[in-house]
Amino acid sequence: MSDTIELAAPGRPLGVYTRPRDNTGWRGWITTVDHKKIGILYGVTAMVFFGIGGLEALLIRLQLATPDGTVLGADTYNRVFTMHGVTMVFLVIMPLAAAFANYLLPLQIGARDVAFPRLNALSYWVFLAGGLFLNVSWLLGDSPDGGWFAYAPNTGVVFSPGHGMDYYILGLQITGIASLISAMNLIVTVLNMRTPGMTLFKMPVMTWMILVVQFLLLFAVPVITVALFLLLFDRSFGANFFNPEMGGDPLLWQHLFWIFGHPEVYILILPSFGIISEVIPTFSRKPLFGYPFMVFSGIAIGFMGWGVWAHHMFVSGIGPISVAAFSMSTMFIAVPTGVKILNWLATMWGGKIKFTVAMLFAFGVVSMFTIGGLSGVTHSVAPADTQQTDTYYIVAHFHYVIFGGSLLGIFAGFYFWWPKVFGHLLSEKLGKWNFWLMIIGFNMTFGPMHILGLQGMSRRIDSYSPGFGFEFWNMFASIGSFIIALGVLMFVINVIASARRARHEPPVGPDPWDARSLEWFTPNPTPVHNFDELIQVDSLDEFWHRKYAEDENGRVVRVATAEEVCQDGSATDTHLPSPSYWPFVMAAGFPFVGFGLIYTLWICIPGALLILMAIYGWIFEPTDDPDGPHGHHADDPSDHDEAEASSEAAGETAEEAPVG
């Protein structure tokens, strides 16, 4: 689509295709193309799905708390653990990372928005459509039950005759579109739109990690797209990709899924690595130790993540040479990860550490992820892995990585950037309750699973008989899971209480943490145009270097207050892209296509019409609203007055709006 966009009627509305103007109220949210609002939408939506996925987790733990559990039947249990995995991976961690990427990435590179604001809105709405589509399957009584990995041929029509796996296939296909669009958009944004002076090696580590993640998405999503298409064609049109009777190979699915699935693991963890690489230096009062090593180890993880997928398949009979090769590569990938952990520790070493809640969560990541990483190394030893496969040891491992690594890092980000987004701090006192309840509950829940796994308890079973020695630790883990839930509840209470308290308190000021990177040049909360004027970057941690300098004795002294350095957000002459209806309309079409493919093809028609209408709307809406807020920035070389701008509408102004 992008290539035909420039054909849009220049400057003048065409019939119904005017652009919306209302930036307020619910209309403002639906039509917004502002990366900050889209970031908030991602965050809120993902937290709602987090509630759903969390309830599913509690149901699992209730069922397994005692032997011969009767809370869920076997069939429901399959659906619940499948949807728990799918929800937490695709609808919670990935969009939460997208929330941080959307809100902070343009700010950290000093840009006013992403390269393609409308595509950005589209990726959010398509993600929401996919998430709702997946969860609607609960209401229609046929939700996915084949595990988040959906191994074919178990998920083929013979063994999964219901519509559950169709929801899985189409739901992930829809969210995949969202991830792909967002990845392309953010890559172009980082590569093309950095503020003057910001070379790639002056970008914050967080920006780097998000960039690496977008490349992983760019190349990993099409692989699962292929796998899902093949399975869809098998199920819907009788193709033979995974039909062993005709010579179809069950391992094909496993290979395709894990070629996507292992980079996906790094897609989940690297944003969190980025977040704590900003949090730890700020609260250690030191620059990040070994910046180039941090960047290159992140890139190395991105590359090596493509060469380890078959360690998920050591017991599937791939042969001794493959097993040996993937054992080696899996051991090697621990090296760049270890480099990161050592660098975080070296950053803290000798620093004046402030134990804020954000810093506590960052400690949580470093310690918990190290445990998860070490149990990961035990999987790379193939003979040991053969014993661990499909036991609770694996469940323990990946929860230490994804909960202990990704989710705790995201919570660190919440506490750190809350003032940036909402203009007030979260309560540190409630935050400490939040942190300690979560970390204690987390270790109570998933720590014992190592023991259960080594004792031989299989994962994915809906119940176990008494007398195997599983009773105590299962009960213990279930109690732990409810402590996690209490911790999350503390976070929700904190959000509400802090917002209430903020009404009676003075604003938080521009720089509550004495921070380092570019986003803190803007006032809190960030104004709609981000920067009053673009920032000339001379060094890594530019914001910090404008506040501090060395005196004649080489001691670091404060040379400017944050108020002197920060912009006041008063610029009013900034050109902003107009909102648009079409991303929402297009996204609304996708679930209809999905329902059509599941039930009857007729339902595809309204979906296709919506998408088609949106494409035309997208192309034909004026690239800008001629009556909307207009004007150019003072130091913009193409600056000219309004009359001139409108007389040249066909030329200059039409080109100025980012056309995504």
Binding site: D3, V190, M193, V223, T225, T574, H575
Partner: protein
């Protein structure tokens, strides 16, 4: 302002490419993995033809060579149309755009003919893993060519509406990137499916 500069044919962007052009390059990078997955699937299944026709029995290599040649020539006409517009030659730009779209359509016509012939000879979509993989891979490529034709026709419409001017030649260039990519992918697919000796029953 970065986002202003970014659309101005790449002046002042980090890479020197405009946002739109870079987006297309990035998208094509992703497409490599899509076709990579489909081609790998075909390579695994090319000798698993169950009770159906084997690939070596059914392919008409001279016919497909001709249609491949037609598709490759469309890349040449695509380049000619871009170069015409960059010189400001609107008329030749339209002629070559039309030629590209027609050559692409000819290729798609050849594919439809090939598919129906195979179907008549007993190679259906559900016949064997080989048949499923063959139709899926070539079908995905055919859909890509068809979307390219839609883009070319859109460019022609824009040209007749008067909005496709010399200053906007980058739009043609971006569609050209897509078109050349689809051609290059076909070279791989043609080699893998037709030129590598196929098993016979």
């Amino acid at each position: 302002m970065a986002d202003v500069a970014a659309v101005d044919n790449g002046h002042g962007t980090g890479t020197g490419l405009s946002n739109n052009k870079l987006l297309m390059w990035v998208f094509l990078g992703s497409e490599c993995l899509l076709f990579g997955g489909l081609i790998s699937t075909y390579l695994i299944y090319r000798s698993r033809y169950a009770d159906g026709p084997a690939p070596g029995d059914i392919f008409d290599i001279p016919f497909t060579s001709v249609s491949s040649f037609i598709l490759l020539m469309s890349s040449l006409t695509m380049v000619l149309s871009l170069s015409a517009l960059q010189r400001g030659d609107i008329r030749n730009n339209r002629v070559w755009l039309l030629a590209t779209a027609l050559l692409g359509s000819l290729f798609i016509g050849g594919q439809v003919y090939e598919f129906t012939t195979f179907l008549r000879e007993g190679l259906g979509y559900t016949t064997s893993p080989f048949s499923s993989a063959f139709f899926t891979l070539t079908g995905f490529h055919g859909i890509h060519v068809s979307l390219g034709i839609v883009m070319l026709v859109s460019l022609l419409i824009a040209s007749f509406r008067g909005t496709l001017t010399k200053e906007r030649s980058e739009t043609v260039e971006i569609v050209g990137l897509y078109w050349h990519f689809v051609d290059v992918v076909w070279i791989f697919i043609f080699t893998v499916i037709y030129l590598v000796p196929s098993p016979t029953s």
